[in-house]
């Protein structure tokens, strides 16, 4: 029993030391910098347009797990569910030449991309599904990005723990060929738990980047004034890494 107590005490002391380091300015900037080193290494090793693996239809998981918001009850969302999303609009706005407001009908008429990809949650699990929708690049090119636009912000209908969900990516991921605005999963309209009627697919990053219940796509120059300035709901709330390719 004594030996166990010693282990617990040693563990606790080591953890306290780590936490002390993490609280200092130098510790904070070091921990933040490591994320950037990985991002740079990934960008260095991987072509801008290199694709995440795509699977045959036979690899699709029998059921696609939902996480985070799986049935939003806030605002107009329940009404949209009742109406079958016929009045849902997706806005493309911010630093663009021609702001757009699109219905689901408009979105389905654009050139489509279908991809069977693997979804990796930050928690560790994975699921494979077939997603269909227009490439985000098609929408951004139609709206015309202004030169000062540096990031694309995704606005969502779901309010989780009192904060509106949102996410953001840089232009490299925004214009990646597999970055699509999905309206279908496995050939059917998106289920509510997976983000009906529209969600993002950011295939080279973890699940929390793939914003669900999408209402607007916003081009911005900086993320500082959005939410708490960390670039996304989980980034603001819990300190998740903005670059979720790791």
């Amino acid at each position: 029993m004594k030996r166990r107590n010693f282990l617990v005490a040693a563990g606790a002391a080591f953890v306290a030391g780590c936490n002390r380091i993490a609280e200092t300015d130098a510790g904070k900037s070091l921990l933040g910098a490591a994320e950037k080193w990985h991002e740079r290494a990934h960008r260095l090793l991987t072509d801008r347009k290199a694709l995440a693996p795509e699977y045959p239809r036979s690899a699709i998981s029998p059921y696609f797990r939902g996480n985070g918001s799986t049935d939003p009850q806030n605002g107009d969302y329940p009404r949209h569910v009742e109406e079958g999303f016929t009045n849902w609009r997706l806005e493309v706005r911010g630093l663009v030449e021609h702001p757009l407001s699109l219905s689901l009908e408009n979105i389905r008429k654009l050139p489509q991309r279908t991809q069977v990809t693997r979804h990796d949650c930050v928690e560790g699990w994975s699921a494979i599904g077939e997603w269909t929708g227009p490439q985000l690049a098609v929408l951004l090119e139609a709206a015309g990005l202004k030169p000062e636009a540096k990031f694309i912000v995704f606005r969502c209908a779901d309010n989780l723990n009192g904060q509106d969900y949102y996410e953001s990516v840089d232009l490299e991921d925004a214009f990646h060929p597999q970055t699509i605005v999905a309206h279908s999963l496995n050939g059917e309209p998106l289920p509510i738990r997976n983000g009906a009627p529209l969600r993002m697919r950011i295939e080279r990053q973890l699940g929390y980047k793939h914003a669900k219940y999408l209402t607007a796509i916003e081009a911005v120059a900086s993320l500082d004034d959005i939410g708490k300035g960390q670039g996304g709901y989980w980034e603001d709330r819990a300190g998740y890494q903005w670059y979720a390719g790791i």
Partner: protein
Amino acid sequence: MKRHALSTRVWHWLNLLCVVVLFMSGLTISNAHRRLYWGDWGFAAEQAWLTVPRFPDWMTIPGYYSLAVARDWHILMAWPFALGLLFIWIAMLANRHFTRDIATSRREWKPGAVWHDIVRHLKLDFDHEGGKYNFLQKLAYGLVLGVFLPMMVFTGIAISPGMEPTFGWLVELLGGRQSARSLHFIFAFAIAAFFVVHVVLVILAEPVRQIGAMITGGREP
């Protein structure tokens, strides 16, 4: 001549720090989703081959449940860990520490010789008969340096979605992302088991002189 080269000593302690932080932050990451799967995908109990216990807070970094902070530490220490491993391999090959002290000869693999070494270990007789390390030591160090530690880097890369467009072949070689994640876990615990045995044997065989030698370099007897 020193018993341990400076490169060995520096790497040994740096690697200890990296492994401890990576392991303890890894336990928090494990707590985020305690099931392990084989193949490309898996998210529910019916696909799992193992559900691991929830690790208590005192074993984990940051000492309470925060996946984000644990990932910060994991992502940071991955760098000195992987680069340190690359460094020690280059150093071990350059100064012939590997070929002279760790690589085994065919003679040592004879069942009689292996059995002899096991019996002597059980008797806590740690005489090395001329060589720096006996057979079981060489085998353990060789496995850790050549398989367990590198596999942590390879399986870690294979779990990272941003790496996959370039390292898709590695993910496939390891049997899919969830297999890579399972292997990451298995090798982490293989390293933890080595750590326990290593520390126990050091304590049984002149701990002060041995730990001192790994700090100052010691003297060749």
